[in-house]
């Protein structure tokens, strides 16, 4: 490929000019500061590489939390025709349906802060976290596991872990259609089976936050958010099952690329035609892994509710612990779009990006149709997170928005920077309590390792993709 050229379109958008063998241009949502931080990254080249894949529709996109991934950039969004385009496991990532959810409460900070240490200790004790964590108390048999993979969140409703009312607060009601457990390898099941109902490690977390600023009062009210409210964020995905599914299909699609005459600019972009046997098999396995992730977040939520009930000696309904929303941010979805006046079905890959349906979108349940879909954007553990709502310009990103702050430092650099420091004490001085299964994780996740999420959010709001509704500040967290 020739040298990549970038042109600024407006204060929020950059264009990567189309050069051979790119099949389309790229659009990166970035303000001037984010553009500067991109200067030293290979992420732009990765956007250009994705733009070379067959059947890409519209522009190849990257959200403002873009950073260097492998194959696809993190923050990448690309739509491929389901009739003559591809599906790529690398475009979804290893942690299939990694996502974040927000559980509301009717509790105010002054009710929770006096017992915050006991609450955090209970959450840490009751929810398995850390490297290789397993949940021995919630084991399901192999036969029932098939039901988890096919039905996702509905399985949890059927088993009494999740109230029925929570289902509408999920993308696709917590179940991706077309899951086929027969396409999930024995190894993937072996890895996933004991990990259902666990948080995991790395950047996965569980966090108690206070709503510290309401920015859009009308939408906040519709979302059930109010000043000083306590909410709970949960960030986890499909654990070892998803990792193995991705692994299995990257390998098989590398082997089939020649058959489908696909020229790969990077092997990690291994892909197959969506409608081919390889494409259909991956869809069946990916949907199964995504459904596992939905069920996993349901079980973690069940344990959170149980812990609140233990500490406050009240039923979770009396504490208003409903699900505000569950956002997937590593996933491929079949969605309908209108491009140049023509309706089209596409397979949208969101790798480190969140779906963001705007107000009036008929795919949203009645509860969110007037406001737009809630979009949850966690920041680093020492600053703040945001709740957004999909806005009118979301059509230009295939209804996608940012998913987080985006890393600034490598894990190694972060560890180096945190040497000799007590991260727990530093957080405590900011009135944030943390418990972590590993000190190394804590060191890798220091606030300085991430961009300021407010810049990311300002960019996506400035571009009219989503509106900022409320800001949250952390008060306690469990890190994996």
């Amino acid at each position: 490929m020739e040298r990549i050229r970038i042109k600024r379109i407006d204060p929020y958008r950059l264009e990567i000019m189309q050069i051979p063998p790119m099949r389309t241009n790229g659009i990166v949502y970035a303000n001037a500061d984010i553009e500067r931080s991109l200067g030293k990254e290979a992420a732009i080249e990765q956007v250009a590489n994705v733009a070379c894949l067959p059947g890409i529709v519209g522009s190849c996109l990257a959200m403002p939390d873009i950073h260097w991934g492998y194959g696809f950039p993190i923050g990448g969004v690309a739509a491929f025709s389901t009739s003559d385009g591809i599906i790529s496991p690398g475009g979804v990532g290893y942690d299939i349906n990694c996502g974040i959810r927000c559980i509301s409460t009717s509790l105010c900070a002054h009710e929770v802060l006096p017992v915050i240490e006991r609450l955090l200790a209970g959450l840490y004790r009751n929810i398995p976290s850390g490297v290789g964590s397993v949940n021995k108390a919630l084991q399901v048999g192999k036969k029932e596991f098939g039901d988890v993979l096919v039905n996702g969140a509905s399985w949890a409703v059927k088993k009494g872990f999740t109230p029925l009312a929570d289902l509408e607060a999920h993308e696709d009601r917590g179940c991706i259609e077309g899951a086929n457990p027969d396409m999930v390898s024995v190894r993937a099941v072996e890895r996933g089976l004991p990990q259902l109902g666990t948080l995991g490690s790395g950047n996965h977390f569980l966090e108690l936050d206070v709503v510290d600023e309401i920015i859009d009062p009308e939408t906040a009210k519709a979302f059930g958010l109010f000043q000083d409210q306590i909410v709970v964020l949960v960030h986890t995905g499909s654990r070892g099952l998803g990792h193995q599914v991705c692994d299995d299909y990257v390998h098989s699609m590398l082997g089939s690329a020649h058959k489908y005459k696909i020229d790969l600019p990077d092997r990690q972009l291994a892909c197959a035609p969506f409608s081919s046997s390889h494409g259909r098999a991956y869809w069946g396995a990916m949907a199964a892994a995504a459904n596992f992730a939905f069920a996993n977040r349901e079980l973690v939520t069940f344990l959170i509710r149980e812990t609140f009930e233990e500490v406050f000696n009240r039923g979770c309904e009396k504490m208003g612990m409903g699900l505000l929303y569950d956002c997937c941010h590593n996933i491929a979805k079949k969605e309908g779009i209108v491009l140049k006046g023509q309706k089209k079905e596409v397979c949208i890959h969101r790798k480190g990006a969140t779906r963001a349906f705007p107000p009036g979108d008929l795919r949203l349940p009645g509860r969110f149709r007037a406001t737009g879909q809630p979009v949850l954007v966690p920041g680093d553990m020492g600053r703040y997170s945001f709740i957004l709502a999909g806005a009118d310009n979301a059509h230009e990103t295939f209804f996608s928005a940012c998913h987080g702050a985006g890393r600034l430092l490598s894990r190694r650099q972060a560890k180096k920077l945190s040497k000799g420091r007590s991260i727990l004490d530093e957080l405590k001085r900011k009135n944030i309590l943390a418990m972590a299964a590993s000190r190394v994780t804590l060191a890798e996740e220091i606030p300085e390792a991430y961009k300021d999420v407010s810049e990311v959010v300002d960019t996506i709001a400035g571009a009219g993709i989503a509106r900022v509704v409320a800001r949250l500040v952390p008060v306690a967290m469990v890190k994996g």
Partner: protein
């Protein structure tokens, strides 16, 4: 250390140099064992045979490390030493000496990626850079 870490914003990268292919593959395995914290002492050792097939040398590297990762994470294999006794463009056979223990790991590696992976022969030595998704 025969390998060095490279900076990658999301993940862990290592650069390995060795005088031959066999050494390159063994050092890559030792790197993954270091990162995971999966070493074991010289006690109750058993030998385990691992065979993998790949499309080419780079694919063989990924398959080899992924196989090792599976045995460590899922089968609780802890490793004392590694010996590769056969290596070709499209596969290898190795003996892993270690024991099985449920001692916790220090780090999770989700996968060994193919991202920009090349195995280069330069001035009579072999080198490669591997990115792990953590």
């Amino acid at each position: 250390m025969p390998y060095r870490f490279i900076d990658h914003p999301a993940d862990i990268g290592i650069h390995i140099v060795s005088k031959d292919r066999r050494g390159l593959f063994e050092e890559a395995a030792y790197a993954i064992i270091d990162i995971l914290g999966a070493k074991c002492p010289d006690k109750d050792l058993q030998n385990q045979n691992i065979t993998v097939e790949g499309l080419d040398l780079a694919d063989t590297m990924v398959r080899w490390l992924q196989e090792l990762l599976y045995h460590i994470e899922v089968k609780d294999l802890r490793v004392f030493s590694i010996k590769i006794d056969r290596i070709q463009e499209t596969g290898l056979n190795a003996w892993v000496t270690g024991n099985h223990s449920s001692t916790g790991l220090e780090k999770e590696i989700k996968a060994v990626t193919y991202h920009n992976l090349e195995i280069l022969e330069v001035d009579n030595h072999f080198e490669t850079t591997i990115i792990f998704d953590t």
